[in-house]
């Protein structure tokens, strides 16, 4: 029987939910399983509810599902918010000290949620307490595993003769993880290894956590009654790594030769910049060390200005931001456009508008990005569908920007950034570096914006011998000096805009859009919906229902002809994306004169699960769906 197991850990922000989940993910990955983990959190430093779901499987998985098989919690809020997600035969490990806790004592439960919960408990005739919600879970066939975390620590401190341990509530996360692993019979060796890994810089803390882990692991083995799920390990797949969301673009930038990154802190983009700075010294084959200069600027306007200044010196340069930051960058984006400066902006979208849901997911910035900036200028908008892909796409984005001398916006999002997944080890040798018409030397007279057959001029760089040029945000002549001459204006505009055609002609079609089969019913989508779509597609296939899927990666300029040709045999088109208005659908219709039959949309700020997509697709196939299917799963 195949394994498909979802574990959930929750607790107040700052209580170690994330490191707990990292240990659990690492253990499962080391035992050969594929992992898809996802973190949800409030815009808050300490106290609000955060949770992590980790889906574990022996097959390749690309998404979360709705069903949770085992939940572990060390606070009341997690139970109140998630008790109804645990499926029959699943389990809840919880702190027995909390049983009498009622909803009013959990101050972080917001009023609308509490109202819904109270209504539900009233209908079931249950008290508004942890005991009340757990009873309803039990009635649904969920097994309850109460344990007093306080007593666990007390027993542990007595056994180790270390009174200090008694009060170490910070270790609740490790206790929870270890209780869970014991319950599912996961071998304990990799638990110890993972703790060593995760606390590698703090050996003393690692030691204490290991003792606590083994103690609670054994407690679980000896005291908890049988659980239906056991995960005892499977053979490892070779070349598998466990990565966090931003690793694809950050490692991609290092490999692609990005040597300058400026940024202003913003969720969910800044993890990438911090990671680049943490690894700022780079090993270079057969050469002295290289480095990435990472500058935290005073705002996003400065971030893009500095990036452009650096790019003019011939340095591959980048910035990373989210929607509100990108909004501030648009004036300078146009400057990069008119001055034909190769830059890559990594745009980790979140849910807008304005500050919106600042720590939640959304794909709301597509229309804004495609149309960003005043005036007409060429740019590329490119979207990655998963973390592994984003590594290679980063390499491509830098090549596009250099070859076409054009700003590239590489679209990522919060769904990707807060995922932790297993995937195939990145292969840097599969990335190439093409700097286009960047010059090594200049001889004779030089004109930065010289008219050429392909519309792209040889590029000098600031500080290069004999390569003097001028830039201006005004319209310019071939030297880069200001002009308002109407005839030169036409030629310059035509020169710049012509590269949009060049992009479509010369970027390989496999990099423009990817077809995962085309059938009568075919999904069109972009970005991080790829994972849940692939999983939903596979679920339906097992039932004998074939659904096609075309993932569009190049969103601007739009590969009209190629996408139209891919979809010629599709009869019903289904657009899936995480925003209100079906933004991709609008771009699709603008370019391809074809109606979209259904939209599956989600704008709660929570990522899509494959279960939700499966349900909606099934309704579509059974002709029971609305034209706009709106998804809402997730706390």
């Amino acid at each position: 029987m195949s394994t498909d197991f979802t574990w959930l850990i929750g607790g107040p922000q700052g209580s170690g939910v994330e490191s707990g989940a990292n240990i659990f993910s690492k253990v499962c990955a080391q035992m050969g399983y594929q992992i898809f983990g996802k973190r949800e959190f409030y815009s808050n430093i300490k106290g609000e509810h955060s949770y992590f779901t980790v889906r574990v499987s022996d097959e390749n998985i690309h998404s979360n599902v709705n069903a949770v098989n085992l939940m572990v919690s060390f606070d009341a809020e997690t139970i109140f918010r998630h008790f109804d997600e645990i499926v029959s035969n699943g389990g809840i490990i919880y702190d027995s000290e909390l049983e009498n806790m009622d909803t009013d004592r959990v101050r972080t439960l917001d009023a609308p949620f509490k109202e819904r919960l109270h209504k539900f408990l009233e209908s079931k005739n249950k008290p508004f307490t942890i005991a009340g919600v757990l009873e309803t879970a039990k009635e649904n066939g969920v097994k309850l595993y109460p344990v007093s975390f306080k007593s666990l620590l007390t027993e542990l401190s007595e056994e180790l003769d270390n009174p200090r341990m008694r009060g170490l509530v910070r270790m609740y996360n490790v206790l929870g993880v270890s209780l869970s692993l014991g319950l599912i019979n996961m071998p304990s060796t990799s638990l110890v290894d993972s703790i060593d890994d995760i606390f590698s810089k703090k050996p003393k803390i690692a030691e204490m956590n290991k003792k606590a882990a083994i103690f609670s692991y054994n407690y679980s083995l000896n005291n908890f009654e049988n659980f239906d799920h056991t995960l005892i390990g499977i053979p490892k797949q070779p070349d598998t790594i466990l990565v966090q969301g931003h690793f694809g673009t950050s490692l991609g930038k290092m490999v692609s030769g990005c040597r300058f990154q400026s940024y202003y802190p913003i969720t969910p983009a800044s993890d990438e910049s911090v990671y680049l700075e943490s690894n700022e010294i780079l090993e270079i084959e057969n050469n002295r060390p290289g480095s990435t200069i990472v500058i935290q600027t005073e705002d996003e306007i400065s971030a893009i200005g500095m990036m452009i200044g650096a790019a003019l010196t011939g340095t591959r340069s980048s910035t990373s931001t989210s929607g509100p930051g990108f909004a501030l960058m648009t004036e300078a984006l146009g400057w990069a456009g008119i001055n034909e400066v190769p830059v890559v902006i990594t745009l980790y979208q979140r849910s807008g508008p304005s500050t919106g849901l600042p720590t939640r997911h959304g794909q709301d910035d597509l229309l804004f990005t495609v149309f960003a900036g005043c005036g007409d200028f060429p740019k590329i908008v490119y979207a990655s569908g998963d973390i592994e892909e984003s590594f290679y796409d980063t390499g491509n984005c830098f090549n596009y920007s250099d070859k076409y001398q054009i700003p590239v916006i590489h679209m990522m999002d919060k769904f990707l950034s807060s995922s932790v997944v297993t995937c195939k080890k990145f292969n840097p040798k599969k990335i190439s570096i093409d700097r286009g018409k960047l010059l090594d030397k200049v001889e004779g007279e030089y004109k930065r914006f010289a008219f050429t057959d392909d519309g792209i001029s040889p590029r000098s760089k600031l500080g290069m011998d004999n390569g003097v040029f001028w830039n201006t945000g005004d319209e310019s002549d071939e030297y880069g000096h200001i002009t308002e001459d109407p005839q030169i204006r036409i030629k310059m505009m035509d020169k710049r805009m012509s590269r949009l055609d060049l992009v479509l002609e010369s970027i390989p079609t496999i990099q423009q859009a990817v077809s995962f089969e085309v059938h009568d019913y075919t999904i069109i989508s972009w970005g991080s919906t790829k994972g849940p779509i692939l999983d939903a597609q596979a679920m339906l296939k097992k039932e004998g229902i074939d659904i096609g899927f075309v993932q569009i990666k190049l969103l601007h300029p739009f590969p009209t002809e190629y996408v139209a040709s891919l979809l010629k045999d599709a009869k019903v088109l289904i657009d899936i994306e995480a925003n209100y208005s079906g933004q991709f659908g609008k771009i699709f219709k603008q370019n391809i004169t074809r109606e979209i039959d259904y939209h599956i949309l989600k704008y709660t700020g929570r990522g899509m699960t494959s279960t939700e997509i499966y349900d909606s697709l099934k309704k579509i196939v059974e002709n029971k769906a609305e034209k706009r299917e709106i998804l809402s799963h997730g706390a």
């Binding site: 990565v243 084959e285 200069i293 200005g305 200044g309 004036e331 570096i433 600031l462 011998d465």
Partner: protein, 320 residues
């Protein structure tokens, strides 16, 4: 052969108004570059938006005419990526102290080795003479419908408070003195700021050339009457000579007090200089020892079209 003054001039038509104070600044800048013998292709002039923004087109070095208020951001990025080149940023007072004031303050904190020159004329010329951040409260220049309702920014004081390590003021009609100040500013190790008083003959009819030279004062006295005087002619030592709180505080406060002097006597020259503050490159070297030998713009990133960056250690650490 060392470049001559003429080599720093382009043949781009200069469309500034006749008598514009900007001419003196662009001449002084070209003279300073020639005097220092900086090769044309080893210097970049970054400029903002407005009349002063056109400066980069008149100088025959690399020239980057950026966006309104953003010149310092582009200039710092360029200098950080290629620290071998000489970087001079120029812009108007509205550009640097209005829309760009945040960048001005932040630049002071970094102390990157480059020079920033503000063309300070109290008005937004290219948009027909609105009040700019340095125009004093209650003054009414030609195109203002009513007297200015905002107080002015004190550029020298703001620069000193923000952490610029060389702060000076020049006067655009004293080109030789201004040239000397530019040479000092460029040679300074760290971020240097030069506030240049620059009459706008078209829109600022208050702070005119005659006003700076004190023609109105001359009617009252037959003595030397120019409002402009040079700090170096007075007993003023702007330099922080040794590290120590007392010395630094004394020189900082002296500069601040001096920056408030205005009216019948307007000081020019160096207000403050402190080379004991580490330039940004030194701070980078603390983390990245070979930053200056192998800066971003000089790094070789590929070998035969393939990456030469070795991330295998990081990748191995991610193995399950």
């Amino acid at each position: 052969m060392a470049p001559k003054l003429a080599d720093y001039k382009t043949d781009v038509h200069n469309d500034w108004c006749p008598g514009c104070g900007d001419f003196g600044i662009v001449n002084a800048l070209q003279m300073a570059l020639a005097e220092m013998g900086i090769e044309r292709d080893k210097a970049t002039i970054f400029s903002g938006i407005g009349c002063s923004g056109k400066t980069s087109h008149f100088i025959n070095t690399y020239g980057v005419h950026t966006l309104h208020g953003r010149v310092l951001t582009f200039a710092q990025g360029g200098k950080l990526a290629n620290p071998d080149m000489t970087v001079v940023a120029v812009g108007g007072d509205g550009d640097g102290l209005g829309i760009g004031a945040g960048h001005f303050v932040a630049a002071g904190r970094r102390n990157i080795d480059m020079t920033y020159i503000i063309f300070d004329n109290g008005v937004y010329g290219l948009t027909k003479g609105q009040a700019s951040p340095t125009l004093k409260l209650g003054e009414q220049t030609k195109s203002l419908p009513s007297p200015n309702t905002n107080s002015n920014v004190n550029p020298i004081g703001l620069a000193v408070a923000s952490g610029f390590t060389f702060v000076a003021r020049g006067y655009s009609y004293d080109v030789r003195h201004l040239k000397d100040l530019i040479v000092k500013a460029v040679k300074h190790k760290g971020l240097s700021f030069l506030d240049v008083l620059q009459p706008c003959p078209t829109y600022n009819d208050v702070n005119t050339r005659d006003w700076y030279t004190g023609v109105d004062l001359a009617q009252e006295s037959m003595e030397r009457h120019s409002r402009i005087y040079k700090l170096e002619d007075s007993n003023f030592d702007p330099t922080v000579n040794y590290a120590g709180e007392v010395e630094v505080n004394e020189k900082l406060s002296q500069a601040l007090i001096k920056s408030l002097e205005w009216g019948d006597k307007i000081p020019t020259g160096v207000f403050y200089q402190n080379e004991l503050v580490s330039p940004f490159s030194t701070r980078l070297i603390d983390k990245i020892p070979n930053y200056l030998e192998n800066p971003p713009a000089k790094q070789i990133i590929s070998d035969n079209g393939f990456p030469n960056t070795d991330i295998s250690k990081i990748l191995d650490s991610l193995d399950v």
